[in-house]
Symmetry: C2
Subunit: 153 residues, 2 copies
DNA sequence: GGTGAAAGTTTTTCTCT
DNA sequence: AGAGAAAAACTTTCACC
C-alpha cells in the first residue's frame, strides 16, 4: 500500500473524475505548479496506484443494449479449477468483470452484449461450456442508476 | 443510437483502452491527421458517446481492501419506491454501482470499503436502513480476476 | 470529410532554491 | 520536494481541397 499525502489524494480524486484534464489545470487545482505535479502523477503511475486511463463510453449509443450479471458455481473449488475458469473468462470479450466470491456462488461476472439473441448465443456456446462450470444463473439489468468507476476518495 | 463508421469505432476502442493518448497518436493509429481526428472525438463527446475520462486506480494501494456485491430486495416495486431507493444510493460514496435487475432480486450494488469493519458499519447504518429495503444479501469479493471497464468493441 | 500550415497551449526538461 | 524559465510537443484553428 502506497503512502500518500493529502495532495496525492486530491490529485487522484481529480484524475479519477476527469482523466483528461491537463497537468497545468490539475496542478492549479491541487495548489502546485506544473512540474512537481507531473512528477507526482508519474510516480503514482510507476507505483501502480494509477493503473491507466479510460474513456467511458455509453453502451446503448454503441449498440450494446444488454448488461447481464451471471452467478456462476463451479464443480470444483480447487485453486486449479478456479484458475482454469478465470483464464477462460479472460478470452471472452463479452465478459467485462470476473469477481470470485465467498459463499455458495463462486463467481459473479458482468456481461455486455449487443442484444438478447447475442447474449443467449454467448451463454449457451461460451459461458455454460466453460471449464468446470456447474451452474449459471443470470439476471438482466433493467437499468443502471449509478455507475461510478473507481474508489470513494 | 449514434451511427458510427469504422474509424469512429477504432478511435473509441483506442480511447477506451488508453484514455490519455495524445490526439496526434490517436490520429496516427486510426489513419487520420490530427484535425479531423480531433473533430471526430469532439463530436463523439457532444453526442454523449464518450461520457468522460477516468483514471483507473488500484483500490488496494489506496487502502480499500474490501469489494462487496449486495443483492437488495425492496418492499415495493412501485416505480416511486424504486426511485426513492436509487436516490438514496446516489448519496452513498461506498456504493459505486447500482443495477436494477429482473427476477426476485431487485438490485445488485457494488460496494467498496476500507476494511470489514467499515463495511459492516456501512451495511447496518446506511444500506439496510435505506428506503423500502426488505432484504440485503452480501457476498465478499475474494479476488477480481478481470475488470475491463467499458464495452467489447 | 480530409489536408497542411500557423498560432496558442501544454508538456517536459533543466536549473536553482 | 517545489518553483521558474526554456525547449519540445501537442492542440486547435484557419484556409483550402
Amino acid at each position: 500500500m502506497a503512502n500518500l499525502d493529502d495532495i496525492d489524494r486530491r490529485l487522484l480524486s481529480q484524475l479519477q473524475d476527469e482523466g483528461r484534464i491537463t497537468n497545468v489545470e490539475l496542478a492549479h487545482r491541487v495548489g502546485l505548479t506544473a512540474p512537481p505535479c507531473l512528477r507526482r502523477v508519474r510516480a503514482l503511475e510507476e507505483e501502480g496506484v494509477i493503473r491507466g486511463y479510460h474513456a467511458e463510453l455509453d453502451p446503448s449509443k454503441l449498440g450494446f443494449s444488454i448488461t447481464v450479471f451471471a452467478m456462476v458455481s463451479l464443480k470444483s473449488q480447487a485453486e486449479n479449477a478456479l484458475r482454469e475458469f478465470e483464464e477462460a473468462m479472460k478470452d471472452l470479450p463479452e465478459v467485462r468483470e470476473v469477481h470470485m466470491l465467498n459463499g455458495e456462488i463462486d463467481f459473479i461476472i458482468k456481461i455486455v452484449a449487443r442484444d438478447l439473441q447475442a447474449f443467449q448465443e454467448f451463454l449457451t456456446s461460451k459461458l455454460t461450456p466453460a471449464p468446470n462450470v456447474a451452474s449459471v444463473k443470470t439476471s438482466l439489468t433493467i437499468r443502471t442508476s449509478k455507475n461510478d468507476p473507481g474508489v470513494p476518495l
